[in-house]
């Protein structure tokens, strides 16, 4: 019989490298029509990081995401970057990109200020315009300012900047120090059905509440969470590289190394926890890696809740759960009759309530 169970897991995860310097540099160039180019040494590896960086630069310059073209991943053309690792791109590269865009913007403000008859500090950039704060009708198009900067003032609006999270080395004896700039937090809850005759687990639903600071792009956050959950489901139930006695892999292929397909995926409900980190670009932190961290633990706890066996080694394959159920049955005295004594007294004892 299939038995329903629920489980949860909570986690914390840092952004960036452990103590070690992991800087990013960036260059932002504003074109004469008010569009812009970002140069970054990071690499888009499928997560949408270049879109996030474009959004950060666009926000700083008051233009739209599509107005920013990102040139990336070429050691000849782009400034150094520690790269797509450690959930650091939004936070570290994002901070560098924002600072670079700010510098280019300040050049535009210097150019626009006399034209608008104010000081540069009285200006802000929004909706494709450079606007006098508090007097939105006094403005000029960012393209006009950028063109004036090049054609008249001779000050091309280009900014470059770098960012490195602040850390303090760990004491080798006690491990005390400040290893990371910031952390994110998350909770996932899993609903599963476990077949108590075969040990097979089906994950029905994952609710994932993730903190990423400001969600620069909620759609990409959802994408990261859904992808992370699928990795977490595989880590929890199926995936395992096996070795023979001589240390050779037995299953180095996708026929025998089982991982979840779309048919194995549970319903994933993504919930973004409102938060703002003052050290991140526009309050953002990151979300790449944490998305899979609590999934396996939540599923293992749900399996216990469903059938009362604690899986202490991953993956919780059907065979493993089946053997654990068998061992549990052998330990329990045979119950005679269906009197009150055999009814569930606490959750997770695996007795049927029907």
């Amino acid at each position: 019989m299939k038995r329903r169970g629920r489980g949860m897991a909570t986690m914390w995860y840092p952004i960036g490298f452990t103590v070690a310097a992991n800087p990013s540099a960036a260059v932002v160039k504003v074109n004469e029509d008010g569009t812009a180019t970002l140069l970054t040494g990071t690499v888009e590896t499928g997560q949408g990081s270049l879109t996030i960086l474009a959004q950060i630069v666009a926000q700083e310059l008051g233009i739209a995401t599509d107005d920013v073209h990102v040139v990336s991943a070429d050691t000849d053309a782009t400034p150094m970057d520690t790269g797509a690792i450690a959930s650091r791109t939004t936070y570290v590269t994002g901070n560098a990109a924002r600072l670079a865009a700010e510098k280019a913007k300040l050049t535009l403000f210097d150019v626009a200020a006399p034209l608008l008859g104010v000081k540069p500090t009285q200006l802000e950039a929004k909706d494709h315009k450079i606007v006098v704060k508090g007097f939105p009708q006094r403005n000029m198009h960012i393209g006009d300012a950028a063109n004036h900067a090049r054609m008249v003032s001779g000050q091309p609006p280009i900014g470059s900047a770098s960012f490195n999270p602040e850390t303090v080395a760990l004491d080798p004896e006690t491990g005390q120090g400040k290893p990371f700039g910031t952390y994110v937090y998350a909770t996932q809850m899993a609903e599963v059905d476990v077949d108590d005759e075969t040990g097979e687990t089906e994950v029905l639903r994952i609710v994932a509440s993730h903190d990423c600071g400001t969600a620069i792009n909620p759609m990409l956050v959802e994408g990261q969470v859904e992808g992370g959950v699928s990795m977490g489901v595989g880590f929890a139930l199926e995936e395992e590289i096996l070795f023979d006695a001589n240390g050779r892999q037995i299953n180095p292929n996708l026929t025998n190394y089982i991982m979840p397909t779309s048919l194995d995926m549970p319903e994933v409900e993504v919930d973004i926890v409102d938060n703002y980190d003052e050290t991140g670009p526009f309050g953002a932190k990151g979300v790449g890696e944490p998305t899979l961290v609590p999934t396996a633990a939540a599923i293992a706890n749900a399996i216990f809740d469903a059938v009362g066996v604690r899986i202490t080694s991953l993956p919780a394959t059907s065979e493993k759960v089946f053997k654990a159920l068998q061992a549990k049955r052998e330990q329990q005295p045979k119950q005679l009759g269906t009197g009150p004594a055999s009814l569930p007294s606490a959750p997770g004892n695996g007795a049927s309530a029907q």
């Binding site: 019989m1 299939k2 038995r3 329903r4 949860m8 897991a9 909570t10 914390w12 995860y13 840092p14 452990t18 690499v43 888009e44 499928g46 949408g48 270049l50 474009a54 959004q55 666009a58 008051g62 995401t65 599509d66 050691t75 797509a84 004896e173 006690t174 491990g175 005390q176 290893p179 910031t182 952390y183 937090y185 909770t187 809850m189 639903r205 509440s209 993730h210 600071g213 400001t214 990795m231 595989g234 880590f235 590289i241 070795f243 240390g247 050779r248 890696e289 944490p290 633990a297 939540a298 293992a300 706890n301 216990f304 604690r310 202490t312 080694s313 991953l314 004892n349 007795a351 309530a353």
Partner: protein, 469 residues
């Protein structure tokens, strides 16, 4: 070298059989609509907070994204790497003569041809191609560049390697023991150690109402990116090498290529192409130096694309962990002290083990206020596939342990799993295990929001109920 190049003039029979060859020219062009429709999310201001679609979404959607496997440079060769297939051995001899004599084979190199045959992000313990010793079965021992991928694969069969087999160390707990032979002797098997100490754990256990213990283990898994590792190397007439690679970290990659190939950084250009998934598996060089050297030797561009099996045994994997937890609590569920020991199976090479060790150790107590803590972590060598960077760096492993352990404690005390976590969770200004004051902390918010969304109704929600099969 001139001789080697001229060898290609006569086409071998195999080139006349297109049915067994991968196409050497790019796929025919597919036309696509030129008119751009920019999705609204990309046009809105303010830009932050918009559900802007990705800049590369259109290319992906139209099937126009070009990965390295789609790239073809004129006169390009294909390379294959011979894998050891034995976990631990001394290489007595490598005979490449027969392979070199094959029609269509242009160059063969071994570990002895690598100018500086070691790399690694922290310890430089990984050879580009194994020369004297094989440390795991996925080690490369020779590489062939040939006119086609098929010829290169056949040439691998003709390379004869003589091994003196050595007993492999496969179990991390065995490796931890002092009497176990060193995988990288004379270096010790324990190649990384981390400790975090706070308060007095033993005293806390004495003051606890209950002390719980548990041991948890996790397995080795692969990143399984859709696109396996790939790279093309090509020298131009100015003596610069251009490398197209699936690397996620080009700055570090260039430094590693400069060191291993012996070329100044100014003569190296690394271009990371569109990468079809990374998850940590593409964070350091793999075959870039091999392709650079094969290209230098032949004067032609050389491409290498890993097969799926190679992606499993010749790239990095996730560290398996053995995790011992001991936790003292009050009868209300407040954690007074926790002691943790982690043993990480580091596989054959260090790779990103230092980082994984550090993160696993720091995060191992969970997002909880624990005044008395002792966490100690070791990483050891084994003759298994190297473990390295993978999404989460040790965190999914320790989270499985501390959260399973937490549920065991909650259940034994008859407390709702939510309540025990809320009671112990970090809040704004909490001090982390390393003594860091935490900011923008939302552990409790995430728990409560998830519970609301999930419909978690306290202890009595009918768990374990039978459902219709």
């Amino acid at each position: 070298m001139a001789e080697e190049r001229s060898k290609v003039v006569e086409k071998p029979d195999i080139l006349e059989r297109p049915d067994i060859l991968r196409p050497t020219t790019p796929a025919p062009l597919v036309t696509f609509p030129i008119d751009l429709i920019v999705p609204e999310g990309r046009q809105q201001t303010p830009a932050v907070g918009q559900r802007a679609s990705r800049a590369d979404a259109r290319l992906h959607g139209l099937g126009q994204t070009k990965y390295i496997d789609d790239m073809y440079l004129p006169n390009m060769l294909f390379a294959k790497i011979k894998r050891a297939g034995v976990a631990s051995a001394r290489i007595k001899n490598i005979d490449t003569k027969e392979a070199e004599a094959m029609p269509g084979v242009i160059a063969v190199i071994t570990g002895r041809d690598i100018p500086c045959n070691s790399f690694g992000p922290s310890l430089k313990d990984q050879p580009v191609l194994a020369d004297e010793r094989v440390f795991h079965a996925g080690d490369g021992v020779a590489a062939v560049a040939a006119e086609t991928e098929q010829i290169a694969a056949e040439a691998l069969e003709k390379i004869k390697v003589e091994y003196e087999m050595l007993p492999p160390v496969l179990d991390p707990l065995e490796s931890l023991k002092l009497e176990t032979p060193g995988v990288h002797a004379p270096s010790a098997n324990i190649y990384g150690h981390k400790i975090i100490k706070k308060g007095d754990v033993e005293k806390a256990f004495k003051e606890s109402d209950h002390v719980f213990e548990g041991t948890f283990r996790t397995q080795m898994v692969e990143h399984v990116p859709l696109e396996p590792y790939a790279c093309i190397a090509h020298w131009d007439a100015n003596g610069r090498v251009i490398i197209y690679s699936t690397l996620g970290r080009i700055t570090l990659g260039r430094a590693d290529v400069a060191r291993t190939v012996g070329v100044p950084m100014s003569r190296i250009r690394i271009v990371a192409t569109v990468v079809g998934g990374n998850f940590g598996g593409k964070n350091e060089i793999r075959a870039e130096p091999i392709m650079a050297l094969l290209s230098k030797k032949t004067g032609r561009p050389v491409k290498c694309v890993y097969t799926r099996p190679e992606e499993f045994y010749a790239s990095t994997t996730r560290h398996p962990l053995v995790m011992d937890y001991k936790t003292g609590v009050t009868k209300q569920g407040k954690i007074l002290g926790r002691k943790i020991r982690l043993v990480l199976d580091g596989g054959a090479y260090c790779s990103w083990s230092e980082t994984t060790l550090g993160k696993a150790c720091i995060l191992s107590a969970g997002p909880y206020n624990i005044d008395n803590l002792e966490a100690e972590a070791f990483v050891v060598y084994t003759n298994k596939t190297m473990t390295g960077a993978m999404r989460g760096f040790g965190a999914p492993q320790v989270c499985f342990a501390y959260e399973s352990h937490m549920d065991d404690i909650a259940r034994a005390l008859g407390i709702d799993p939510i309540d025990i976590r809320l009671m112990n969770a970090f809040e704004e200004g909490s001090i982390s295990p390393t003594g860091q004051k935490l900011h923008s902390v939302v552990v409790k918010e995430s728990i409560l929001r998830a519970a609301k969304r999930f419909g978690w109704n306290g202890l009595e929600s009918g768990n374990g109920k039978g459902v219709k099969a």
